[in-house]
Symmetry: D2
């Protein structure tokens, strides 16, 4: 059940300490204000006493975002809950970053064009000139070349910060962006910056993972989409994908075969994020899949 199929629908996300009565309180409020729950997922992490809930609901009689917000804030307050409410008719603004490999960018834009990813791409940023993405049709999405060197890294990130502010980007997608964000920027973007790592984490961290995989002689390669944190390659994992390989595959063959699983894992992770299906939980994620 995808948000796109209903025009006036909302996704409510709630996280809090686990106590009895949370489901009852929220579902009662939704019912009393005329809401209709279409899909609901709830999970209790018993070991850590944490409660997670996603409710996808409509308001057949109509309801303003502000009105809903006020009602739900009151309930959330009683439980000290972290929560968010999103009107699914409003598309999230997304900034996509890329370097020399453009297959993930091409895949994201294609899925956006055919209506599969409900987002509003506000900018494409690369540390290389636009020619490096020569195979991709960017249409009218503004392209920004932000070159980077060890000396200019701080300045480059300032320009990036500015761009995020100006465009109002709510999500930053590192679509094979081969630079490492500074700890500071990683922290600022916590929970709204998704990276695709071209290995099956935690195997083959760091540089040239396909060459590492080839040397090691693995029989499956993988790709991992995760939220970016200051701790490189250790961010909460959203989605992973694998592909079978054989002894006759060279490192170059692995790179070729890896493109598919990178694109697939990243587009799924972005889809789940945009659909409000992912909740960060320490170094793990709760993903209420569709």
């Amino acid at each position: 059940m995808s948000p796109s199929q209903e025009t006036t629908a909302w996704v409510l996300i709630v996280t809090c300490d686990s106590v009895p009565g949370i489901v009852a309180a929220f579902s009662r409020t939704l019912f009393e204000t005329g809401g209709n729950i279409i899909e609901m997922n709830q999970y209790n992490d018993v070991a850590n006493g944490q409660f997670f809930m996603r409710i996808y609901f409509t308001h057949p009689g109509g309801m303003s975002d502000d009105g809903l917000h006020a009602e739900l804030a009151a309930v959330a307050g009683r439980f000290g809950a972290m929560w968010s409410l999103r009107n699914t008719a409003v598309r999230q603004k997304v900034l996509i970053m890329v370097s020399r490999f453009d297959h993930c960018l091409a895949d994201l834009l294609y899925r956006w064009r055919i209506g599969e990813l409900h987002m509003d791409p506000v900018a494409i940023v690369s540390n290389h000139p636009v020619e490096a993405c020569g195979q991709v049709d960017m249409g009218t999405i503004p392209f920004h070349h932000l070159p980077i060197t060890p000396q200019t890294k701080t300045m480059q990130e300032d320009r990036l910060r500015e761009l995020i502010g100006q465009t109002g980007a709510e999500l930053v997608v590192l679509a094979r962006y081969m630079q490492i964000l500074s700890d500071e920027l990683s922290r600022e973007l916590a929970g709204r910056c998704i990276n695709i790592h071209h290995s099956f984490l935690p195997g083959f961290k760091g540089a040239r993972p396909y060459h590492q995989a080839h040397r090691r002689g693995v029989k499956l390669i993988g790709a991992t989409a995760h939220y970016v944190t200051a701790d490189l390659d250790e961010g909460p994992i959203i989605e992973q994908s694998v592909e079978r390989i054989s002894h006759s595959d060279t490192a170059e063959d692995l790179i070729r075969k890896g493109r598919d699983i990178e694109s697939r894992a990243l587009s799924r992770a972005v889809h789940y994020h945009l659909d409000g299906r992912v909740i960060m939980h320490g170094m793990r994620t709760v993903v209420f899949g569709d």
Copy 2:
């Protein structure tokens, strides 16, 4: 989250016409009687106006089955809901039927012995003598040889019916039982008889599906676990599994490779059924996976 991990836990299943307020009503009742929801899945089939819900909950303060039953019956009555409540500490009684291939039986019993399938196997029934299952350690589970011919089919099914009654079997598993149940018996066992078909339904219905698959030259073979209905090979599907094959596989190789996916699909389907994760819905099923 598996029922086995909590000693006093219940699974509540609710199906009814979709109207606002169902979640609110049930969750309120559970809360007011001291229940604590651990895991909840709800799905609305918007196209057909049907509501499906599974709630896995505990009663930290203790509660009798009868007390809970009465409270929930009142709520269910208001919505005209079909519902069930199961105390997860009570294991379901299961009767397993088999013919000459015993790999699914062996797999089910092994998973039961190591505590993976929370069931109580009350009988093993075969249309062949016990020697046909010579590779399987049946322990102290009673084995019943119920031979069958076209002439004795009605009588054989009468004896089977009797056995189901005597043992109190709540679930019948056809673990490569190669006889077709009569329409009448299929109807009697509706929703509590699971079959494994050795193909990826709806492809290759009927006899010798691996030989059909080999002739057709498919590149993947499959297995399908489904509830038995009077309409052969058309029952609601619970789980499917596939395996890649190649041109060099003979029909015999397909039979060998198929054993794994048959065992896997059947044991998962039985596991989901025992966990109260499957709800029949016409010729489809709702499966709230774990």
Copy 3:
């Protein structure tokens, strides 16, 4: 090991009745003319007495296509073999046909642009105007609009035949082309026309397979790439791919999720065909995978 990695390499394909000495004869000839075998796959269909072989080899000392051809023709003649020799430096000319869904076309062209598919796209043909493929960057590949009605089918296929002749297309790819080729044209293109069917054949033949799959309540959907024959949906299968779905997926969700497996199965089948890895064998194929 992909042909692209060697500049002067050949792929030799041999099919014949199985007798002893075929491998010895061909490998000796290659050795004596200075060839070096890099990768070799041989398979004997014992049940049908058929022999299949693919040899990928180089000629470090250099060799003309004509010279090689003459030497190999002599050997092939002794065994009455069907055979082909292809210089991997020469790209095959490919004509791609499409209707209103362009995801497979977009995928094929992207893989061609980044050097993954070693082909030379000589034409894109659609029964709809170019606007129907608005999301795809066709670059300088000529687009041909060949509309079709039941009345004009014969004429349209004549124009298509002409186009195949003019462009020298060696392979025709039906990339979600929603028209059925006539028996006559299917026969003419035998072994050089690949179609993608949007279901896991032989399940859900015919129209709207995702709607059929949704109604039937399957738990996995599939896509099948096969050679086109006069017998609709019954051509020799080259590659199949599947994806897990759930009860909450609507028919539209299946269509969306199906795009990935359609693109993947088709691009793999085209890749295998271009690499000389597929040999037709009645209604089956031998695929020497990479």
Copy 4:
């Protein structure tokens, strides 16, 4: 094509430095001595100049092992090749080691009983008493309890060595044997000792990998079958298998779900080894899959 299907068949394995003419020389010798090649796989590691070949052939006219051996030794000598010849009618003697988890042992024995694994199990060895494998029907296979402590490790391995010698075991399978073999014994058993590691190597080396995986929040778990070397968890990988998991799976759930992929990866690796489909190549393997 499995060796079991032909009574008088051989598997020839050849590894050597890559030069032209190897295929021609061996195939000629086989032809001249009356052999008939049924399945042949050849792979050239161009980067390292290494040649690998597997030939599965019959001798319709009959041939002694000694006669064949002499003929092939002459050819192998010319190329300085490492090679082996195995009559597929002779089953390999296998010693299986286990500790407290017996699912892999149960799976291997079941596949052996139904004729899927063509081996002769000559001993089961455990560092725990036989009661620890209470769920497994060992039939008449001798069970040996070889307890181990840090102090007695050398002695225990001496007894193991003796047992291998007495039984003539050609392959040792560590079926969740939770002790680490000494460097010395690992070296002695090089290429004929297969271990199953319960993670997707190289991720989660060392102890309690499922707990590591749970903490890290991965979305797929894996299992790895590899040859044992002195370098722990770094031996050449033969087969890997993965399974999708979710946030709601506890570490115990991962252990449960992991059993299937451990059994599957190990039984496939053993099957490939027994079929002569695996060739070690430094820290990698060439696997000519079936």
